[in-house]
Symmetry: C3
Subunit: 301 residues, 3 copies
């Protein structure tokens, strides 16, 4: 009997541990196109700390080019999986603020939460990590007090506020608002395919700091070319189906495998086919950019 009685708190403790391991973990990661020059990002974090000082606040990036939903989608795809399950992301790239786009919280099948306008930002992450549930944010409940007049800074008053409440456990996922069908607004782009001879894919993003060109073609598809390090490949790059670049380059393990300034193909840190100039800027040199309008072809001859 005594043992039983004493085990009750233990069970409560256990259940808390198990809840916390499958739900929110008090971590919030912010992304936006606000830049770091003004107080917008700081105001979002202030609102979050006002919800709970136990939260741990981090940044993905705030240097998304203004209104570039595609890049917001890609940064989530690049980063979310490296954060612990239960982390709550806020992504605010919102050219349609004030229009009819829905404000949602997505839970991926991997157990990550993303708070965002549903405007295409979720295109890539839902394709890779899957949709567990989507809830629309009920702004009657989940909106900072004294913020209902006129034009609103939704990033601060709705998204950061809702994310903080969710991450801190002030509200449950269900209390975000009405359950929506398992679908999100998606942007069209060239998916990675192999026709037995040529690989096709998209340039989702540049490795901006170095000017490397990253594609969405995964190693698993690339391996079907049966290449060894040093083998030459033909690379063509298109903008809206118009040829922008065409050349041969070796498949290389490291940048140092080619002379300074020479092109190479390699697998980047996400194990996707990429192109670079050793110690140079491929994108700038060949006027290559990224987004849903850019595509590539890679072949052996």
């Amino acid at each position: 009997m005594k043992k039983n009685l004493r085990s009750i708190p233990y069970l409560i403790l256990l259940s808390l541990i198990s809840v916390s391991s499958i739900a929110q973990n008090k971590i919030v990661v912010f992304q936006s196109d606000f830049g770091l020059k003004d107080g917008a990002v700081s105001a979002m974090k202030g609102v979050a700390m006002g919800v709970s000082t136990d939260l741990k606040l981090f940044d993905l990036t705030h240097e998304i080019p203004a209104y570039n939903i595609w890049e917001a989608a890609y940064r989530l795809e690049q980063t979310v999986r490296y954060w612990p399950v239960g982390t709550v992301f806020v992504s605010v790239v919102d050219p349609g603020v004030g229009t009819a786009r829905k404000s949602v919280v997505l839970k991926t099948k991997s157990g990550h939460f993303i708070v965002t306008p549903d405007n295409g930002t979720l295109t890539l992450i839902t394709q890779s990590l899957g949709i567990d549930e989507v809830h629309e944010i009920d702004e009657n409940i989940n909106r900072r007090k004294d913020s209902k007049k006129s034009y609103t800074f939704h990033g601060r008053d709705v998204y950061a506020y809702t994310a903080a409440r969710l991450a801190a456990g002030v509200i449950s996922f269900e209390q975000v608002g009405p359950l929506l069908p398992k679908q999100v607004v998606s942007i069209l782009y060239q998916k990675a395919v192999f026709d037995g001879k040529t690989l096709k894919g998209n340039i989702p993003v540049l490795d901006v700091q170095y000017g490397n060109v990253w594609t969405n073609i995964p190693d698993t598809l690339f391996n079907r070319l049966n290449l060894h390090y040093g083998d030459m490949v033909n690379v063509s790059i298109f903008y809206k189906h118009k040829l922008v670049y065409k050349d041969k380059m070796p498949y290389s393990q490291t940048f140092g495998d080619v002379a300074e300034g020479k092109p190479l193909a390699y697998l980047n840190s996400l194990l996707q086919v990429s192109f670079a100039l050793n110690q140079g800027d491929f994108a700038k040199n060949f006027h290559v950019s990224s987004g849903s309008d850019w595509s590539v072809e890679v072949s052996l001859r």
Copy 2:
């Protein structure tokens, strides 16, 4: 009796709770014109963590243009109110470092603390949030050890150090140093006024990431024009009283209410009159900037 004895720790606990709720909350928010390219911001945070690893450190911005006290003042005005009461801000934009300007800690009537050189940085926040008390920093006490030789990095050795000690409760507000009169150094600028026909105001800051022009004219004053969405207003912009821009534009609820590239007037997230080009850069297109030398007029005809 037993109850009385046991209630003593309870009273101590209560008093601690009540002190912590009206005083510092272990949060420090840093602002400067240091940029993020070197180690200056990191050194300030290292000093703060050396005071107490319980502190929670955040940034407002470090991209204030070099020596631009006005913009420092505006970023505080834009941001402080969104942080919990008791938060300690450090603002270091200090062209007069080493000269006679005072180093102070301001407590606003809202209960926020700001640690800064008193050089105009407090112009706007004191006008909006009021002055509760100002103390001068006694550098004999509140200065990092081993930092007294020659020229000093005051941001690190005095401001970050004092802010950290205050936020962590190592010193009380009184222990900052001598109480000063309730006044601060203020910069002159066009305050928001309405003469019954025309609104006048200042351009405190640009919404830099998007190139939108923000004024200091609040919605309460703007509403006296009795406008409806879609009504046209005349907007004139002056630099040192010289006309820089003049045009008509509609008062709009969202950017999408006008064609791409067209101007609109709207209320920004601080509920202040602002001007933008839909998906364009108003400031860059019309060579408009911000600061105490810039003013605007808005009227119905």
Copy 3:
């Protein structure tokens, strides 16, 4: 007897406290040349939080110019000493990623840890703070799971992961990997010297935000010129031994001691000889940059 038994956990507790006070303090500070525009820095922090949510994560800078090992070395030298003993730094500027350079963890004599490729990044910090021990990272143990395929993002999969495990106490310093000799890869540069008439030194870095030129000549050496504020000095600046700039300027306590736009010599916040234009950009005006190829001479006539 009973007392003895009960004191065992106490002793364990005591030993834990004493270990934690001399070893890692759960703080990790990140530096890289990744910039803040993509998800790379965030992915590193996500991996660290996956190791332990008790960690406190900060940044030194991520704006090191791409591949600039020298500047990485200088930023560590500028910043490490201001963080509490036991802090773990991660520095990832790694042009040789995938080549034979070693991945190491250095413990300085001051008790700071630095996780980095050993490619010159440790040149300056080891000269100033000394080498306590160097361990090579054993990537068979200290590498993120599921990261062994092909090209790897070492910053995330090895350096951030190892730093987090070390900072959180998941591994001890010894468990990083094999002990190495007390030496690191060093870059050659003009050390600060005084020949009785002329001071010689290097320009390790610019104070980039303001364009001030910082040298490695310390106040202790400078004082041997026996200068008073206002005394004039001759300053010559060389790139690869070729004269780039030569002029006279006063030794000044504060920038305001000279007219706007005029040059001055002063001691910066690290108490090193520096040159500036009052409210101007010395480096830009005179095309002066920094690195191991730049040197200066300062003399009285």
